[in-house]
Structures are given as C-alpha cells and as structure tokens.
Assembly symmetry: C2
Homo-oligomer: 430 residues x 2
C-alpha cells in the first residue's frame, strides 16, 4: 500500500484547481492519513493556456479527456467537467469499463445516470464515489451511506442550494425583494448569469434524488421530484412568515412510506425552533431522521473551491485506503423500486398568500372556499395596501391533506376578487 | 461475503439492549446495506435473570466475558461493559490478540488505552472501532477520520455531554439555579445519582481527547486536558451572558498549532450567532474547522439506547462490508507526539463575575488590577444586590493572553472587597 495512488483530473475549473491546490498544500498529512501518496499524473481541460494559479507543469496534459480512462499511469479518474451527459458521461463509462476508480462532483450526471454507473462499477469491481456531488464539503453521502446505515430513515431533507439560501436570508435580513437580491448576487458572482438552474430548484433536486436513494435504499428517481424554486417569494412572505414564527427556506424533502417515494424541492416555512431555520447565507445543511438515531443534522459549505475539493479528496483517501464499496450503499440489484407517492396524499400545514380586492365579501368568499375544500384556518392576517393596489391576505392552515389545499385554490381560480396568482408554501413540521 | 458477520455482545445494559433491538428491528435493511446478515451468536452480562425486554434465548450465554474473545462462532466482539480498565480492557486485549474485530462505546477506555489497542489491532490486522464512544449517534468519528480527512484541522470542539447541556439550557430557559435543575434531572433519570463524571467535565474530556487525536493526527493525551465543569455557573451568569449576546455551554475545545496541543473542557460563553448557541437540551454537537472545507457542524443525540446502538451497528456494518482501516485514521507509528500547549499563551476574550462589597472604591480596585495585568475591559455591568448581600459585577475583557486574565485574578486574591471566588469563563471566538 505504499505505491502512490495515481490520479487523472478531467476539468480544471474552480474545483479542479482546488483539488490541485489541496493535494499540494496538505500533501504530507494526506499521505499519513491515506497510508500512501496521492499524486496527480495526468490532466485534461478545454483551455490549455489559461492561468489557473497552480503549477501544472509536472502533469501529462491530454486534450481528449476520454483517453485518461485507459492510461497506464492512472488508477483513478476525477471528473470535474460537469453536465449530465456529454464528455463527463463518456469519461465515466470509459473509466469504469477500464476497471479504474471514478470520482466525481457531478450531481446532474449521478442523478440521471447513477444507477447505470453503479452497475458498471460493480461489474468492474471498481470504486464509484461522489461525495462532492451533494452539499459540497459536508460529508453527507458518507453520513447516510455509512454513519446512519443502521437506521430505517423516514425523512431526509435539507438546504441543498447555497445561492437560494443566500438570496432568501439576504431578503430576510434586509427586507429586500427577490429581484434586487438576485441582481446583487449576480454582480458579486454568487449567482450565475443564468441563475435558473439554482433558483428554480433543479440543482437542489439533483442532490435530493441522490440523498433519497441512499437514505431509503431505492433506485434514483430524479424524474419524479416535484420541483419549484424561489422566484415567487416576495419580501412580504418573509416578513409575514417571521411574524408567525417561521423562516422561508428552499427545502428539498424526501420521504419513504406508504409504499411510495415522496420527493419535493419547494420554498417552505421552517419553524424558528428547527435547526434549518438557523442556516444562513450560502451554507448548506442536511437532516436525516432515523428510527434509532433520531435526528442527525449536518451543516457546512455546500460549494466553492475549498469545500468541494475537500470532498473530492476525501473520496480519494477512501480509495487509497481501500475503504469503499457499492456506490449506493448496496448492490444495484438490492435497491428497491418505489413508485412516486401519490400527490396530495401527504398531510401538513400550509401558508397561503393572496392579493385581493379591497372590498367587502372577499374574505367570506375565500374562507368559504377553504371550508368547502375541508381546510381549516389556524391564523389569518390581512394587511393594508399591497404593491398592486390590493390587500395582502396571508393565512396558515391547520394540518390537512395537501390535496385539500389544492382543491381550495382550484375553487378560487378565476375569482375576480383575487388579483394575482396565490402563493402556496408548505410548512416543515418534522 | 454472504456469510453472516457473527457478533458477541458483552454488556446488556441500556446500549446492549438497544443493539439487540436494532439488529432485530432493522434486520432486513441491515443485511441489504451490509451485504450480509449481522447475527448475534453469544452474549455476556452480569445478571442473567434480569428482564431486558428483548428475547435473548437464541444466543449462547457466557458468564465470563473474556471467553467471548476466543469463541469459534464469533467474528466481532462488541464491548458495552464500560470502565477504562477491568473486564472491558481485558476483553479488548483478548479479542484483538485473538485477531478478531472489536467494537466499543467505551470512551474512557479509548481515551486511556486507545493507542495500545490500536497497536494491537494493527498487529492482528483486525478492526478496532468506537463510533459510539463520542457523541452517541452522530457519526463524528467517521466525519473526522474520513469525511474531513483531506484537511488540516485547526480546531475541533463541541458540546460533548448531554447532561451538562440539558442543565445549562434548562437554567437558561427557566432562570433556575444549577442545584435545582440538577436535582430535577436526577429525579427524571437524566443525570446520575453521582453526577460528577458528567458535570465536572471528565466525560466530555474523554471524548475531546479522542476527537483531538483524529483531528490532528496526534497520539491520545487525555492527561493534558484542562478540565472544569459547570458546578459554579449561577443563574446570574446565564442571564448576564444572554444580555451580552452569549449563551453558556460546556465546550470541549482542542487546537493544534504553535507546536503544542491545546485541550480544554470548560463552561464557555458562545456568541448567539454561533451554531453551538442553538444546541439545546441533551443534544450533542461537534464542530471541525478545516483549512479547505471550512466549518463543519454535526448535531444529534449524544447518548441513549437508540442513538448509541445506531453508532455501534454502523461500525458493525463497516466491518461487514470490509470498509475499515487504522483506528486513529493512520498507523500508530504515524501519529505525532505534540506536547501540551503552554497554558496561558492562548489569546481570547473572557467573562468575569465578581461578588463585591457594596462600597466606594471597589470598582477602582478591580479595574486597576486589570490595568496592571494588561487586560482591557470591553463591557462592564454592575447590578444591585447579589444573593450574599454583595453587588454583582460582570465584565467582558478585550482579546488578550489568557495569562493576563489569570494575572489580574491573582492580583485580586485576598482582596477584602471581593466576597466570593470570582467566576471566569472564556468566550468562544471561533
């Protein structure tokens, strides 16, 4: 075990550069912990000339990343190219087919092709590891795959997108509107020029589907994640939620039970007493609730050069130590196929915000629709003028089937009293 | 790998019973995750007749736990007897000498004899695992040994004793005094009849010394942990701390740097913005700060039947999978020997509480001592009558060497103005 573990690195963006820096900065410590040196031998990236602030001269440079898979001087390929398909997937398949270990930070690829790749890894008896794909530096893949492995897990959920959490907590702290904070975040480089992948919940959904598979021992099912984002959260939602004892967070939530798999990414109201309410800025956090361990809570940095590189190199150390096994905690053949849970069957409280016309009878109309749908109201606040001249009406329902709330909103569709699309957020009562 | 992993269980108290229940309740899931069944074959406990609420009839019962080590039908011995020495240590040595895997929840034994046992495990090429020894169900041993393995860790610290945290947060929430809450906790079974092991910080110190070894790659050094507990925290400390923006927590803190190893268990003031300030009741939490990953925060249940059993069985699953290696993350020969840090060299802010005579000139005397010791004062509160007729004087210093604060207190020793032993708590400024 004193032979170096030889690494090829495909992709030299922020994370790739971070891996090079980390392996250099912590070289001696890593060798002690891994039991042998971890050494980069070959690299590949699109632009050979860009200055990445790290010395790459000691590594073989290849233009076609796919050739890394079959080099004799490579034991592990680290893929940091990104994208669910394309060169990343080609490289993953080629690496595992060649019987080499494969490490990736690519949540989209794992969410879409994780089962296929895990099967290929099993066939080749090779490692497939992806700690960096979910929640950056926080060891949640390990936490679920190993730390909580003795438990039947009922729920796994968390704050899985730092950009959204940055925006929501900035709105919360400064009373700003979504669009203003987004523009500021883009100017500072915290949000992408095209931010839809983050703020519409797709990135969080990729991560959630991976967590769900590990937590419940089920096959990955990204396609059945119900996804919405934070575009429709307004400053008033955050202020009213706060007045009612909640904070607004984009939560990815997965539950297994009743023979179905429930997966949703949604802006939620989180009670102030829940640890997720105290996760601020760009931090990520994951909660798993196990039948023996109770609630486990993990928090840390979910993105960025250092944290993501930390997770990639943790995977490499596991491989160097020979401490790894099936990618999804069990052989693919043992994973259960759970159908998606039937929408609406879930129970819970909900937050609803309406902008309504300022005239008598409107409240009666809305509360009648609630009554007819079987939804009872826990609290209700009506405020002066909303931005568009109407009145802001905010309510929290008692616990009821989600389908009943949807039914109430259906009944109100087309009502002349309601001036804009109502806002529905579920309440995290776990 | 489809042969069952055969377990012997020594000790059938709360945790032992929990392990039996867990292996039964989650049997099918564990077999899928571990890749093979995990089956108890033999057990040993002091009292054969006690009803433990679990069916033990299928297991061989032995009276002398040490004989478990050499049974042909046992692959792993799980030690849940407790105690740093005595039968637990005898069993550990015998098991590893017989080349079998050893799993324990025994923090005292690992803190005192961990290096010896790790050497024995290496020699025998056998697993030595102890996830349950620190922070119960929270996978912090794994988090440090593997999850954060790529990082140089500067600080590792946390809330490591649930009894103390229960008492402190109960004092905080209800304004009660230490003695009253302790009595209540004892009545409810949350605190031992002899609570000194918990409330004087020894239990937390055992755990801290283990975390420090893993975090810094150093040999265990329990003897150099500076230990104090929570007996001297009064309701007024908690109220004044709160007014100043802090909460009082018993924190175990270890730092490596400047060529020395700093380890201390101490009641601290934790800023309200720090995640440890939000850890309430009997929960535990651990923070590790790595040079690439930044701050990692783990929270969960630190004791009790279910959480501790969860950690024990996680270790068993790792062994069943063949995913384990050196007990302290690297071979014992690679662990560094760091001398204890020189006391007083550390810098920080401090909280000081005096009960002083209610007469002119007292404040001048105390502030002069501070000045002469080179300690400057950030804030100072003087309150009406304290319990013993004096005046309560509370201050927070600016950042300064801890030795300067000690010097100031030395200068005030024997002063007739000071009516009782001053209280010093350090401020957690990490």
């Amino acid at each position: 075990m004193t032979q170096p573990l030889r690494i090829a690195l495909a992709g030299l963006g922020t994370v790739g550069g971070g891996v090079v820096k980390l392996l250099e900065a912590n070289r001696a410590l890593i060798e002690r912990r891994a039991g042998r040196p971890i050494a980069i031998t070959a690299i590949s990236a699109r632009d050979r000339t860009r200055d990445r602030g790290v010395d790459l001269s000691g590594f073989a440079w290849v233009d076609d990343a796919a050739t890394l898979a079959t080099r004799d001087d490579v034991d592990v390929v680290v893929e940091l190219i990104g994208g669910a398909d394309g060169p990343a997937l080609t490289l993953a398949r080629a690496t595992l087919a060649a019987g080499k270990a494969f490490v990736t930070a690519n949540k989209a690829m794992i969410a879409h092709h994780g089962v296929e790749l895990a099967e290929a890894a099993e066939k080749a008896d090779a490692a497939l590891k992806y700690e960096a794909a979910v929640a950056g530096g926080i060891p949640v893949i390990k936490g679920l795959r190993e730390g909580a492995a003795a438990n039947e897990i009922g729920h796994v959920y968390g704050i899985l997108n730092g950009t959204c959490n940055y925006i929501l907590t900035k709105m919360e702290q400064e009373g700003l509107d979504f669009a203003d904070v987004l523009a500021e975040a883009q100017a500072l480089g915290y949000a992408e020029a095209d931010p839809s992948f983050d703020i519409d919940g797709v990135d969080a959904a990729h991560k959630l589907s991976i967590l769900a598979s590990l937590a419940f021992g089920t096959t990955l099912d990204f396609d059945s994640v119900a996804i919405s984002g934070i575009r429709h959260v307004i400053a008033a939602d955050i202020a009213e939620a706060q007045a009612l004892g909640f904070r607004v967070r984009l939560v990815g939530l997965a539950e297994a039970g009743g023979g179905g798999l429930f997966q949703r990414v949604h802006a939620c109201l989180v009670p102030i007493s829940h640890p997720l309410a105290h996760v601020v800025g760009s931090l990520n956090a994951v909660v798993a609730e196990g039948n023996f361990v109770g609630r486990l809570f993990f928090e840390g940095r979910g993105a960025g050069e250092g944290p993501t590189a930390s997770a990639v190199v943790a995977d490499l150390i596991d491989i160097a130590r020979g401490e790894y096994g099936p990618a999804f905690a069990m052989p693919v053949a043992s994973l259960a196929h759970l159908p998606p849970a039937i929408p609406g069957e879930r129970n819970g409280r909900a937050y609803l915000r309406f902008t309504v016309a300022d005239r008598p009878g409107v409240l009666a109309e809305i509360t009648a629709a609630m009554r007819d749908a079987g939804v009872s109201i826990e609290s209700l606040i009506q405020r002066g003028a909303a931005a568009d001249g109407g009145v802001l009406l905010v309510m929290v329902t008692h616990d009821c089937p989600e389908s009943a709330v949807a039914d109430a909103l259906d009944r109100l569709k087309g009502s002349a009293s309601i001036l804009s699309q109502p806002m529905l957020m579920h309440i995290l009562d776990i």
